[in-house]
């Protein structure tokens, strides 16, 4: 029996490895076939084609159809490259469960017969089945997460995303139903009295499946949230498109005056802006320092410093004490002149007064100061005096008027 097994085993080994090598040998053409959905027959020799068909890698679904990859091969590739468009989720738990039951039975039978090498083999197969079952969920969960995390980016339109999301939710429900089929009391009974089986079927499988179960619930929650988001986006796009179309068709359309309804909806109740303003306050002595710093940091207008010009000396400020005293004396004399005018009552010539009083002022400066004093008088006092200028043109050719003398008289009241 063991010899027979090893013979079929070696047979299987050689055929399997030979056929796996076929996949590698024609990898480019086969992958192209996966992408195109059919295989370009001219890319293979006749013998290669025959081998690929015999290896159940390629098949012809219909007489008229071109050769294509077998669904299982496509599925293998989809799973390897995580191609969510083609990846399949196998939610069939009942079949796996049936296999596990049968294997347990076979294992127990051979143990009972004392055929330990067969029992070992059966236990090996059983372990594979249990791992398959767990792996099936793992693969499905991986695929679901992958789709979720890419926001279903493998399809372009929102409608497709919504359909894909709904499909994923159906798959998820089938997976959850499949998990429900697993009855642990049954598995405990199956494992009764055997520590190997107990470990495999109860402790190991149970912890794996319960973690799958919580993963699935998490995925389900996220899928539902994402679907709600998709629906919201969809409805927003439609609202925008349809409202824009409506407004284009009805250019005269005006919505009602909601602002003057008794109840104004919050959405349309947007208060006018209030922009708080503040100015510098000097009432807090503690802030003086800060304010002074602020003032100091103000950018100052840079005066372009002109080189000193002596011609502008008349505008130089009187800083010299002697000059200031002379200025005051001049002013005093001019004031006396005005007082004399008031006393005198009639018109008085400025230069005559200067000569009469034997004052030492230069005539021009004297006249200038009298005019300046007159201009500086307040309006109502200015009206009390009449100023007559004795003027003559500078020359026959130049009509510039030069002041020769000034007469001041009291205004006849």
């Amino acid at each position: 029996m063991a010899a027979f097994d090893s013979k079929t085993g070696s047979n299987l080994f050689s055929i399997g490895s030979e056929r796996l090598a076929l996949l590698g040998k024609h990898h480019k053409a086969l992958m192209q076939g996966y992408l195109d959905g059919f295989v370009d027959e001219t890319a293979f020799s006749d013998i290669a084609l025959k081998k690929l068909i015999n290896a159940r890698i390629l098949w012809r679904p219909d007489e008229q159809q071109p050769l294509a990859l077998r669904p299982l091969v496509s599925e293998l590739i989809a799973s390897m490259v995580a191609d969510e468009n083609r990846r399949q989720i196998n939610a069939d738990v009942a079949e796996k469960l049936e296999q596990i039951r049968n294997r347990v039975q076979a294992y127990r039978d051979s143990q009972f017969k004392g055929d330990y090498s067969v029992a070992e083999l059966q236990l090996q197969r059983l372990t594979e089945h249990v791992h398959d079952l767990s792996g099936q969920f793992e693969e499905a969960i991986d695929s679901l997460w992958h789709r979720l995390n890419s926001d279903f980016g493998f399809v372009s339109s929102l409608d497709d995303k919504i359909r894909e999301n709904e499909r994923a939710q159906k798959q998820l429900r089938r997976l959850l139903d499949g998990l429900d089929l697993l009855d642990f009391t049954e598995l405990i009974e199956l494992a009764e009295g055997n520590s190997h089986l107990r470990k495999l079927l109860v402790s190991q499988l149970q912890s794996q499946l319960s973690s799958h179960h919580s993963s699935l619930l998490e995925v389900q929650k996220r899928l539902i949230e994402l679907l709600a988001k998709f629906r919201q986006q969809q409805s927003r796009s439609m609202l925008i498109a349809n409202m824009a179309a409506f407004l284009r068709q009805h250019p005269k359309y005006h919505p009602a005056d909601y602002a003057n309804r008794s109840e104004v909806p919050n959405l349309l109740n947007q208060a006018v802006a209030i922009v708080p303003q503040a100015a510098i306050a000097l009432d807090r002595s503690s802030e003086r320092q800060l304010l002074a710093e602020l003032v100091l940091s103000l950018p100052r207008s840079v005066n372009s410093s002109l080189p000193d010009q002596h011609s502008a000396s008349f505008a130089a400020p009187f800083v010299d004490d002697a000059v200031a005293a002379r200025q005051q004396a001049l002013q005093l004399d001019v004031e006396n002149f005005y007082l004399r005018v008031i006393d005198h009552g009639s018109s008085l010539s400025a230069l005559d007064y200067l000569a009469q009083q034997q004052l030492a002022w230069d005539g021009e400066i004297w006249l200038y100061q009298i005019i300046a004093e007159y201009q500086a008088l307040p309006v109502d006092e200015k009206q009390m005096f009449v100023m007559l200028r004795d003027e003559a043109p500078a020359s026959a050719m130049n009509s510039l008027l030069l002041i020769q003398d000034i007469s001041i008289s009291l205004q006849a009241a």
Binding site: Q233, R236, M238, I240
Partner: protein
């Protein structure tokens, strides 16, 4: 109230606060106690804090609708109604130009250069953008595509629909105020029973 001074100032100045424009402020405003405090503070100013249906954007409303408030709201609503079509057309144009599968939502980024590049080579998009830029809402006098686009985006920034994180970099982020706009449109549609659908046909759902 002190710690919310800057936030209050922004609100009073008429800003819409959402997660994009002011993440911290938005978080504070989501707190019910803070809302109460702010409303209490705003009461003498005849203002109160409100948000849109999804609680995604906060702004200030009048507390009491006196005459001046109503006058302001009335003129403001007239402006909003006038701006609906240009804004909707802009939303559509961006969606189509950038080849997006859904409408713009808060947080989406728009690169100005990408938008210009894609519009440049497409006669019909170019045409639509031309019309949009000339609309009273944007009021562009320029014929140059670059200027038109810049103006449109600047106006939307001024109106608070877009945020420009770096003034020297030409990319914009859509703010939560766009949600408010959509809510306003939905409100008008519902209130006036406009024949504007926003749910897919029933058979498509099944």
């Amino acid at each position: 109230m002190l710690q919310h001074g800057a936030l209050l100032e922004r609100l009073l100045a008429g800003s819409f606060i959402c997660q994009i424009t002011d993440e911290d402020g938005f978080r504070h405003l989501s707190n019910e106690q803070t809302q109460q405090d702010i409303n209490h503070y705003l009461r003498p100013l005849n203002r109160r804090l409100v948000c849109n249906d999804d609680n995604s954007v906060y702004f200030l409303a009048y507390h009491e609708l006196n005459k001046t408030a109503r006058e302001h709201l009335s003129s403001q609503f007239t402006l909003t109604a006038q701006s609906l079509l240009p804004l909707l057309e802009w939303l559509q144009l961006v969606q189509e130009t950038l080849g997006r599968d859904s409408a713009l939502t808060a947080g989406d980024t728009i690169k100005l250069q990408e938008f210009v590049l894609r519009t440049e080579d497409n006669q019909s998009l170019r045409q639509r953008l031309n019309q949009l830029a000339a609309d009273r809402f944007f009021n562009s006098q320029s014929d140059a595509l670059d200027n038109q686009v810049k103006l449109i985006f600047r106006r939307l920034k001024e109106h608070g629909y877009l945020l420009q994180p770096h003034t020297d970099r030409q990319y914009y982020i859509v703010t939560g105020k766009i949600d408010h706009l959509i809510d306003v449109i939905r409100f008008i549609r519902d209130e006036e029973h406009l024949p504007v659908e926003d749910t897919p046909m029933q058979d498509e759902l099944i």
